[in-house]
């Protein structure tokens, strides 16, 4: 029995690491030089090209007549060239064909540079590797996200701003409501009310997020627009409200467990000192459950910035750099969710999407690590004097 549990446990850990490795490897293609990238992508994608030729046609990349180079083109005119496997440094397989004279401004995978940077190429041509890397970073640091433009722009700023906006709104709404609901159910509700409310809120956690997104898209958006007369029907507030609907049940459920786990004797001791139920709840029980409640909020944050479907449907999904909560926003997760389906395999855009996956992972990982190592101790010290 024990060995099978161990097996399952280690298998799941291994799977988690494999997923992470996969995401990082795909993202890493961004940062190695263009030619190396080409080789790697070629060798990894070629087999699928062989076996399932209709799924991905590298030849399409060479089609210079394509006016929308980022679109997958199964009707490539030169099927004969659809066999670049094993050909090291075949850069032409990328969509952004450099040989096309019609699009001189297009990204050139040979150098990894935009035409605007061509001057630099001359001076630093000896180290294309460094150049490519710098260039990728410069692009990621840009301030607009237009991955399918003629000059694709991969500035992450609008996405990070959008993520921060919606996550903050979602947490500002979701965490207090979730915690208050947990306090109510744990300490104030009559038993029959508790038995009804607790599962009802937790049921919301199992709600398909597409339904929540739909609800926000239709109902909440109109409500907010009527209320504020805002210009954009879908905006970060609507998205934040939608995300908070996903956050509340998580915060509620975990916070309620933490609050119920506080010994009832503490409540008696506090009431015996002449405090009200409410004072007892927020001055004794809540601090006593602080680590659990904090973990609840943290998981809520994780849910908010990781949530994809609600973010796609309710935020307006426009990558604006605006800080205004009443303007549309687009989150990192929503970007991956909405663009991964149509991105060209192995392209720079593809690498950037995976890179954003790494960002999401690193963010939630460091959020948890910082909490575990630092904040939790401080919190316990602050509220419990240890």
């Amino acid at each position: 029995m024990e060995w099978s549990i161990r097996l399952v446990a280690s298998a799941s850990i291994i799977v988690i690491f494999l997923i992470l490795l996969f995401v990082m490897r795909e993202a890493a293609t961004l940062f190695v030089s263009a030619s190396t990238t080409a080789t790697e992508s070629t060798s990894s994608s070629a087999p699928s090209g062989d076996l399932v030729p209709e799924s991905y046609d590298p030849g399409a990349a060479d089609a210079p007549s394509s006016s929308e180079p980022e679109v997958y083109n199964p009707d490539a005119e030169e099927p004969a060239t659809a066999e670049p496997a094993g050909e090291p440094g075949a850069p032409g397989q990328f969509i952004y064909a450099s040989k096309n004279p019609k699009y001189p401004e297009i990204y050139n995978p040979d150098t990894g540079l935009l035409p605007a940077d061509i001057d630099d190429v001359e001076s630093e041509a000896e180290t294309p590797d460094t150049l490519a890397r710098q260039n990728v970073l410069t692009k990621l640091a840009g301030d607009s996200w237009q991955p399918v433009g003629e000059v694709p722009k991969f500035g992450l700023a609008p996405l990070l701003i959008g993520t921060a906006k919606t996550t903050i709104i979602a947490i500002l709404i979701g965490a207090p409501l979730g915690i208050l609901a947990a306090l109510y159910v744990a300490f104030f509700a009559k038993r029959r009310v508790r038995e009804f409310v607790k599962p009802a809120i937790e049921l919301l956690a199992g709600f398909p997020s597409v339904v929540i997104g739909f609800f926000c898209l239709v109902t909440v958006a109109s409500f907010i627009q009527d209320l504020t007369g805002v210009q954009y029907r879908l905006n970060a507030v609507v998205g934040g409200i939608g995300l908070s609907l996903a956050v509340i049940p998580i915060v509620f459920s975990i916070a309620e467990d933490a609050l119920s786990a506080v010994p009832k004797t503490l409540r008696e001791a506090s009431l015996a000192l002449g405090s009200t139920e409410w004072q007892t709840a927020y001055r004794v029980m809540l601090p006593a459950a602080a680590p659990g409640v904090f973990a609840a909020v943290l998981l809520g944050i994780g849910r908010a910035f990781g949530e994809t479907m609600i973010a796609i449907m309710a935020t307006g999904n426009a990558p604006l750099s605006s800080l205004s909560p009443l303007e549309p926003a687009r989150t990192v997760a929503a970007t991956i969710g909405s663009e991964m389906g149509e991105v060209v395999w192995g392209s720079e855009h593809y690498g950037v999407l995976f890179f954003m996956g790494v960002i999401l992972f690193v963010f939630s990982f460091s959020l948890n690590a910082v909490t575990e190592l630092y904040v939790k101790k401080r919190l316990i010290k602050k509220f419990q004097g240890q």
Partner: protein
Amino acid sequence: MAKDLPLKIEAHDFSFYYGAKQALHSITLGIPERRVTAFIGPSGCGKSTFLRSINRMNDLIDGTKTDGHMVVDGVDVYSKDIDVVTLRRRIGMVFQKSIPFPKSIYENITYGLTLNERPSKSDLDSIVESCLRRSALWDEVKDRLHHSALGLSGGQQQRLCIARAVAINPDILLMDEPCSALDPISTGKVEELITELKDTYTIVLVTHNMQQAARVSDFTGFFLMGSLIEFDRTRSIFTSPSKKETEDYITGRFG
């Protein structure tokens, strides 16, 4: 029974029910002011129930019911216009198991004081010190006031709880077997403390340790199966009990 002493708490035909189960049967007694009154009796006889009826802690249990009157300072605490929170502020309580809040020692003491007011820092400091001195804890904890109360020993925790109850300056201190989880040395310290506090407070002490009742109390009530069998000066109860059951109990024939 000393009729000359002013009574702080009076029960008149007081009965208590947990749902359908009657736990107290028509208790009538008067607890004199600024004395230590002890309740003894075998476990399950209703001592805690009676004690918790005085500050209405039993309200927290669903489906309870009372009958008769419980009068504190001339007012029936079960009458409709009584504010339970105010009532409890006048009646400190110490529980069987010490229950320090998971906060610092300092915050444990100041908790009751800061509920409705914002006393100045220096006021709080001096109250903390005087309460800790009264509970003979000051020398042991003065260097770690801002450390967690959970780091104290069991005996220290219980004295902290007494200090915490004393801090809100109640008239009455209810103690439900405050020493049952303590070692003899800590018990001695708590008993000393009780003796010291009785000049200021009306103390009601539940104990199943008869020696303790004999040592610290002025009056003793003997409960059996939810009824008050005998209530008198401690000396009389232990030297010449008037009831057969009391004598059997204190001579150790049952209980």
